[in-house]
């Protein structure tokens, strides 16, 4: 039963900001283990879709189901607890903290000694912190940042910060991870490594991945299915080959000056 049901389902999800309908009746489904792409020209409503799924905004109408449960309008931290985590297009790291501390904050979600234990520095609290630190180090290794564990996150390069965001999101041990333009600002070699990392996240960590990306080569090479938005509307959905040759998609991109 739970194998057959989609892990994430958007059912005519809609959000309006005043007169602007940023996301208009968008529906799509992700199955467990998918690497799913969300593309579209600038301002199409992709990031807003992520914000709806992660609870930053409440849908004006429509519903979002995660593992069969409606989650539209739940608080973002509740949704993270249910098992959806994300990265941010405009990188939002805890800048004054080190890389490993950033990841540990993600990791705190799944283990928790009561606050009193922390205040009194009880042995289990210390042990927990140690365990989380180790787990975080493993995740830093996964994204090739182990050597930067103690670096202040704000001082690292753009590409490293993006990878750190992925490690931090993974640390919450999500079922579904949302990546908002993870390859932006990366050089070709970094992109190649990222491609490999995302595949590992799916194959080795058994996560489902939803990715927004402008780099078409990257998206087409990575995703098995893609949904295309334009002006908040869903204009196409399907495997990469079908999307590439879809006249509506070509028009949406060519009609765009950018």
């Amino acid at each position: 039963m739970s194998e057959a049901q989609p892990i994430l389902r958007l059912d005519e999800a809609t959000i309006k900001f005043g007169g602007l309908t940023a996301v208009n009746k968008v529906s799509f489904e992700l199955n467990r283990g998918d690497i799913f792409g969300l593309i579209g020209p600038n301002g199409a409503g992709k990031t807003t879709c992520f914000n709806l799924i992660t609870g930053v905004y409440k849908p004006t109408s429509g519903e979002i189901y995660f593992q069969g449960q409606p989650i539209g309008g739940l608080a973002p931290n509740k949704i993270a607890t249910r098992g959806i985590c994300r990265t941010f297009q405009n990188i939002r790291l805890f800048s004054a903290l080190s890389s490993v501390e950033n990841v540990m904050i993600g990791a705190h979600l799944r283990h928790r000694v009561p606050l009193v234990g922390a205040l009194l520095l009880a042995p289990n609290s210390v042990a927990e912190t140690k365990a989380l630190q180790e787990r975080s180090m493993h995740l830093l290794e996964l994204v090739n940042l182990a050597d930067y564990a103690n670096h202040r996150s704000a001082d690292m390069s753009y590409g490293k910060q993006r990878r750190l965001e992925i490690a931090r999101a993974l640390a919450t041990d999500p079922e579904l991870i949302l990546l908002d333009e993870p390859a932006a600002g990366m050089n070709p070699q970094e992109k190649e490594e990222l491609l490999y990392t995302v595949r590992r996240i799916r194959d080795e960590l058994n996560k489902t991945v939803l990715v927004i990306e402008h780099d078409m080569r990257f998206v087409m090479g990575l995703c098995e299915r893609i949904v295309v938005l334009d002006h908040g509307e869903e204009i196409a959905q399907g495997p990469p080959d079908a999307i590439r040759n879809n006249p509506k998609v070509i028009e949406a991109y060519l009609g765009e000056p950018a």
Binding site: T54, G55, V56, A75, P76, N77, A80, T81, C85, R86, F88, R92, L93, F94, S95, A96, L97, S98, V100, E101, M104, I105, G106, A107, H108, L109, H111, V113, L115, G117, A118, L119, L120, L121, P123, S125, V126, A127, E128, T129, L132, Q133, A149, N150, R168, A169, A171, T172
Partner: protein, 400 residues
């Protein structure tokens, strides 16, 4: 891990013994300073507890004195109750401290609520307003003594108690930062949106910070009430909130040790200047001139160090440059003193006793904000790791 409880127990016993020993030592060697040291430790508590709210959790709260005031009036009112009044003094003080903390924590919860919706400047205005409301209401409440204030009986002055309280406050905050729990507080400070996305319960974290911060301020207030044996709205003026805030900002927002150190220094400076009489005028004028001169020289040395840090890369050369810059402080100080004394107007302007008290404060602050806006210690703690080579994250370090 197995040796945890014996070590913990030993360190607690050690701290208690140390507090008692200090208490006795001060009584024997400098009884005149006994009360001042109690007040200083209370200010450390106030600064460190505000640092939890402002520096660690990033909620811009001013008006911290109000929580101390609530604790003080709680103690002042309840200690009149015969059931408490008959207690031996140590028990009485302990109970009053606890009750002051509880009542202040309740108010902390209420003040914490707006922080869930308001950010930055707006929250600052609300907390400032809260502080003023508490003061004005007390001023107008006859049963609390109104503007005349209220005598608090019995007068209980225990340095050991305020020291213990201070250690507890510092230890709790420091423990917090050693665990992942503490990291979630820092996450709220750094980026709420990202924190939420990582599952941090931002609401809860903010309220907890306010409740704990207010509780310690309330405890300090209760001790203050019994130390002074008299409280009035004038004991807790708006300036007091600003001074506490200054201690936190000066020490480096987020740095516990920085806040504590800044609290001691900022408490000591005006107290020292207060002890000066006109009879000491001449000598004092010279000292003050030198003090101001050295202050200016230090500012220059800090600026120079910054320049050296970025521009000189060879290790030996760097060390020499640093030494030169800091050695120059003393002669430069004397030079500036001479210059100041050349002009009679500058002299009177700078060295009127009252003016100077504020001037020193202001100059220190301005200098700091110009040279090091993140506070003297920034987000860092003072500790043994300064002497280690490897950089250590906030969550690592020696246990207990």
């Amino acid at each position: 891990m197995k040796s945890f409880w014996p070590v913990r127990l030993a360190s607690i016993v050690g701290v208690v013994a140390l507090c008692f020993a200090l208490d006795r030592a001060v009584l024997a060697a400098a009884p005149a300073q006994y009360r001042l040291l109690i007040l200083a430790s209370l200010f450390v508590i106030l600064a460190v507890s505000l640092n939890l709210i402002n520096g660690i959790t990033g909620q811009f709260s001013i008006g911290h004195a109000a929580f101390a005031m609530i604790g003080a009036y709680t103690a002042g009112t309840l200690s009149k109750n015969p059931a408490f009044a008959s207690m031996p003094h140590p028990q009485l003080l302990a109970v009053m401290t606890l009750l002051g903390a509880l009542v202040a924590a309740t108010f902390g919860f209420i003040v914490g609520l707006p922080s869930l919706r308001l950010r930055g400047d707006y929250l600052a205005i609300v907390t400032l307003g809260f502080g003023e409301i508490i003061r004005i209401v007390t001023n107008a409440t006859e049963s609390l003594g109104g503007s005349y204030g209220m005598p608090v009986a019995p007068k209980v002055q225990f340095l050991w108690w305020s020291l213990l309280l201070m250690v507890a406050c510092i230890a709790l905050c420091r423990n917090l930062l050693k665990t992942t729990h503490g990291l979630t507080f820092l996450a709220v400070r750094e980026d709420e949106v990202a924190g939420l996305a990582m599952g941090v319960n931002v609401t809860m974290t903010k309220v907890v910070a306010f409740v704990i911060g207010a509780a310690f301020a309330g405890a300090a207030g209760a001790v203050l009430a019994h130390t002074e044996a008299f409280i009035s709205p004038r004991t807790f003026p708006m300036e007091m909130s600003f001074i506490i805030l200054t201690m936190v900002v000066l020490g480096g927002t987020g740095s516990i040790t920085g806040s504590a150190l800044a609290a001691v220094v900022l408490f000591a400076i005006p107290e020292y200047l207060r002890t000066l009489t006109d009879a000491q005028g001449k000598a004092y004028e010279m000292n003050a001139g030198l003090f101001m001169g050295i202050l200016v020289a230090i500012m220059i040395a800090v600026a120079a160090s910054k320049w050296i840090q970025t521009n000189v890369h060879e290790k030996g050369k760097k060390l020499g440059f640093y030494a030169g810059a800091w050695l120059a402080v003393i002669p430069l100080g004397f030079l500036f003193q001479t210059i100041l004394h050349l002009s009679p107007t500058l002299k009177t302007l700078a060295f009127g006793i009252d003016i100077l008290r504020y001037a020193v404060f202001a100059v220190v602050l301005i200098a700091l904000m110009l040279l090091r806006p993140q506070g003297i210690f920034g987000h860092h703690e003072i500790g043994w790791h300064w002497f280690r080579k490897r950089p250590v994250p906030a969550t690592e370090g020696g246990a207990a």
